[in-house]
């Protein structure tokens, strides 16, 4: 039961992002795709089934406001979790760049699938303005996460600059 608590916190973080931070952190239509990023990170650091179920529930949480696409989002993110896990298994993911490439690819695929699911008009425009830029933006956030996670950035190092 205790093992679930971190995941509950992740989902609350995701909900908080959807409600509060998504609009604030958006830059010219590019938004952080926290759901996809978290699913890929779970796939990198946890087991296959954890990634799949996490992706499924993350899809439900991320699309809770739009019940019509909840199933698609859950399926898509579960699939991305599964795919990311197997990529991790087959690639040398010690490299930071490989991890970032995985995040970029996963988020881009998710953004692309979301555009297809919601059947947007102006598909190409949204692909360029929202999907690609959003994927790059999310990758930048993931890069910061990896720097902190792998202790390449620490409080002591930041203090030493000043």
């Amino acid at each position: 039961m205790i093992r679930i608590i971190p995941f509950v916190l992740y989902f609350l973080l995701l909900a908080m992002h959807q409600v509060i931070w998504k609009d604030i952190t958006g830059i010219f239509g590019a938004a952080i795709n926290l759901a996809a990023m978290m699913v890929i990170l779970v796939a990198i650091y946890r087991t296959e089934m954890t990634a799949v179920w996490f992706g499924f529930v993350a899809g439900l949480v991320a699309a809770a406001g739009i019940p019509g696409v909840m199933g698609w989002q859950a399926l898509t993110l579960a699939g991305i979790g599964l795919a990311a896990f197997h990529m991790r298994e087959r690639l040398n993911l010690d490299s930071l760049n490989a991890k970032l490439l995985l995040v970029l690819g996963g988020v881009l695929v998710h953004n692309l699938l979301t555009l297809i699911i919601v059947r947007t008009d102006a598909f190409w425009y949204r692909l360029a303005v929202n999907a690609v830029t959003g994927a790059v933006y999310t990758t930048l956030v993931a890069w910061l996460f990896f720097l902190v996670k792998e202790k390449r950035i620490t409080v002591r190092k930041i203090r030493s600059i000043f």
Partner: protein
């Protein structure tokens, strides 16, 4: 039973994947209204607290902006109120001036006080009229309350007025009721006095004191003050008569110069 559990253990991964796909398909097809229930449950459990937080913060920031705007409006209104109050006082003053009539044989020239001089009580004032306006030394200065003083120095655009509060200023005066005469002067320590009034003269508290016109500086009949106390010392030829000035010298603003018609 053992066979089933073995099969489950072997195919556990596949079963989980199939469960995920099945649930997703149910949600996609909208069967059993699972979407609506799930959406409501997730929204209530995860979104609501943050919506509440967001709306509270937005309301607070909106309230802060409104509070700031109201404070600015309050300051603005206070300033306007002060200006209106000042305008109301000016209006009242000007209304009382409208009832003021010039003495026969004189024209009244309105003037503004530019500056006042004196320690504690003003004893002199600078007005915005000079010889360009036919103002000359010794012309009388009045306002709607009574006699204020006389011109003692004139330049092209300005004139200096010696007020009745100057101890060097003397006014030949008489009691309005009894017509008996004396000299009004202002003592720094004792205030306005009526000097040279005989002990046997008729004077009472509340009597009006007017300029007599003797001495050739001030025209007769101008209000100078009101008797507030009378002492008749024995073996002294004159009374000690204290006056309350007709003019409030602390608030002089608009004055009038009495210019003879002949000029």
């Amino acid at each position: 039973m053992g066979v089933v559990s073995t099969l489950l253990a072997r195919r556990w991964r596949t079963i989980q994947l199939m469960a995920v796909v099945a649930l997703a398909v149910i949600l996609i097809t909208g069967a059993l209204d699972l979407n609506g229930h799930t959406s409501r449950a997730i929204t209530a459990a995860t979104y609501s607290p943050f919506y509440l937080l967001k709306t509270s913060v937005l309301e607070l920031s909106q309230k802060a902006v409104e509070s700031q705007q109201l404070r600015e409006k309050l300051v603005d209104a206070s300033v306007k109120l002060s200006l209106l109050e000042e305008a109301r006082r000016e209006n009242a003053r000007l209304r009382s001036i409208l009832g003021f009539e010039a003495l026969s044989g004189f024209k009244i020239i309105p003037a503004k006080v530019v500056a006042v001089y004196g320690f504690e009580l003003p004893t002199a004032a600078l007005i915005n009229r000079g010889w360009k306006d036919s103002i000359f030394v010794d012309q009388s200065i009045v306002n709607q309350e009574g006699l204020v003083g006389r011109v003692v120095a004139v330049s092209a655009d300005f004139a200096t007025v010696q007020l009745l509060t100057d101890p060097l200023n003397r006014v030949a005066a008489r009691v309005a009721a009894s017509r008996e005469m004396g000299i009004v002067r202002y003592l720094t320590t004792g205030g306005m006095m009526l000097d040279n009034f005989p002990v046997q003269g008729t004077i009472e508290i509340g009597d009006q004191i007017l300029s007599s016109g003797l001495g050739g500086v001030y025209p007769p009949g101008l209000q100078v003050g009101t008797v507030v106390s009378v002492e008749r010392p024995e073996r002294e030829p004159f009374c000690t008569v204290k006056l309350s000035p007709a003019v409030n010298f602390h608030s002089i603003e608009e004055l009038f110069i009495l210019r003879p018609d002949t000029l």
